[in-house]
């Protein structure tokens, strides 16, 4: 229970950072989405439940403050997590730096296109900049998680 509360608190913290901190470190106006990056990296590392929690709950929190219709972020994030899960199971059995970069880049691009369409904005080259920025952040997060994950968490199925 304490673990779940901590997770929810952490998700709220990431969503808050998305609104107040990420615009400060934007590059040429490109602001990567931390919730999306986090959930994609988690799903590629096989933390399925955590990835869906982050995508769903984080998406709903983002929806509370976003100009897009309520539910848009949560829906797209869950969809992208499913897509990433399918791709990683079917075509990318090994999770490494390249797969992380590709999936995060593509995920950000799809989310950006969907957002610009729903907001009736112009599709610009900034989407690519944002994709690359998000991929770099994804790689940093992947490195941090790799350092934090205990080997026992990965091989549990063979141990019991």
């Amino acid at each position: 229970m304490v673990k779940l509360i901590l997770k929810i608190f952490f998700i709220i913290l990431i969503a808050v950072m998305q609104f107040v901190f990420m615009p400060i470190i934007s590059i040429k106006g490109a602001i990567p989405n931390l919730i999306l990056i986090g959930s994609l990296v988690l799903i590629l590392l096989d933390f399925e439940i955590d990835a869906f929690y982050l995508a769903g709950l984080g998406g709903l929190i983002l929806d509370l403050g976003s100009p897009t219709p309520f539910g848009f972020n949560a829906f797209i994030f869950i969809l992208l997590v499913f897509l990433a899960r399918f791709l990683s199971k079917k075509y990318l059995p090994q999770t490494n730096y390249i797969t992380i970069a590709i999936i995060v880049f593509l995920g950000t691009l799809i989310f950006g296109l969907a957002s610009t369409l729903i907001l009736k904005e112009q599709v610009t080259i900034l989407l690519l900049v944002e994709g690359i920025y998000a991929a770099v952040l994804g790689l940093i997060l992947f490195r941090i998680l790799l350092a934090l994950i205990k080997p026992s968490q990965i091989i549990t199925i063979f141990e019991q």
């Binding site: 602001i31 769903g56 709903l60 929806d63 219709p69 309520f70």
Partner: protein, 292 residues
């Protein structure tokens, strides 16, 4: 003597047993995941259909009100540190820009002295002709930036709203230049759409040639569209708000004309506009509230 391959068989049996033990837990986890996903999707779908009723407006207001102290804290701490490091990277350009600004400042001081004299003469002449004292027709309200609601909109969230008397469409300025208009005014905070946004349209006039048009943001920066063909546009002339329609008062400076970008055969002229404002580094903003 054990049969050949029996060791492998034993290992497989142990593995199968382990998998059986693990399965209920795994299934439970799967069920939990699906239940959670379904709940979120139902909420999202419900919210999506109820969105046109405007039920999210008060929620958004309280959400951003809660974020206000955190947002202001980040702006006042990291908001100052990050540009400092960006400036170090562009140090050479900044030195050059500073030199140009000093020269421009000296020239403007000279112009200001002349204008003060003209202003004084103007006041005297008005008195002689019996004009009534010009009234300030607008109120200026300062506002701070809390955060940004979406990376795909050139918009910002500010800490003033209906409670401060703001209305949708009010003009927002920074350092005397127009930076945007209020597009979503909530009780305690508002959404400001910058003039660099593709969907922002502001009626403007070119100060010297008096050509009117619509200012729009976009991929290639600011541009004024729909200027009549018979207008002789001069490069470097000021672009100011025309005050036609909406809440934006006339005479607010936006920038200067840099180039005529319309092609031959087009029925209207189009010019690109340069604003001296760095829209990624806005700090204190002022909202111009039109009185009456």
């Amino acid at each position: 003597m054990p049969k050949p391959g029996s060791e492998t068989l034993t290992k497989i049996k142990i593995f199968e047993e382990n998998v059986k033990v693990l399965l209920p837990g795994k299934t439970r986890r799967k069920m939990r995941r699906w239940r959670f996903v379904i709940v979120i999707l139902v909420l999202a779908l419900l919210g999506f259909f109820l969105y046109p009723t405007g039920f999210t407006k008060p929620i958004k207001n309280y959400f951003w009100r809660g974020l206000e102290p955190i947002g202001l804290g980040f702006r006042l701490s990291f908001g100052k540190i990050v540009p400092f490091f960006k400036d170090i990277v562009h140090l050479k350009g900044i030195v050059k820009q500073n030199k140009n600004l000093i020269n421009e400042n000296l020239s403007l001081q000279g112009q200001l002295a002349n204008l003060s004299e003209v202003d004084y003469e103007n006041e005297i002449l008005k008195k002689e002709l019996g004009f009534l004292k010009t009234q300030n027709a607008s109120t200026i309200i300062p506002a701070a930036i809390i955060g940004q609601s979406s990376g795909y909109l050139r918009s910002l969230v500010i800490d003033k709203g209906q409670a401060d008397g703001l209305l949708q469409g009010d003009a927002v300025i920074s350092q005397g230049y127009l930076v945007g208009t209020l597009t979503d005014v909530r009780k305690n905070n508002s959404e400001l759409t910058l003039i660099t946004d593709f969907n922002s349209l502001v009626p403007v006039v070119l100060q010297d040639s008096r050509g009117t048009g619509l200012l729009r943001g976009g991929l290639n920066g600011l541009a004024v569209e729909d200027i009549p063909l018979n207008i002789g546009i001069r490069k470097g002339e000021n672009v100011i708000t025309s005050g036609l329609g909406g809440q934006i008062p006339p005479g607010i400076l936006i920038g200067t004309v840099t180039d005529v970008i319309s092609k031959e055969g087009e029925i209207f002229q189009k010019v690109s506009v340069s604003s001296p404002i760095d829209f990624s580094r806005l700090e204190v903003l002022f909202i111009i509230k039109k009185n009456g």
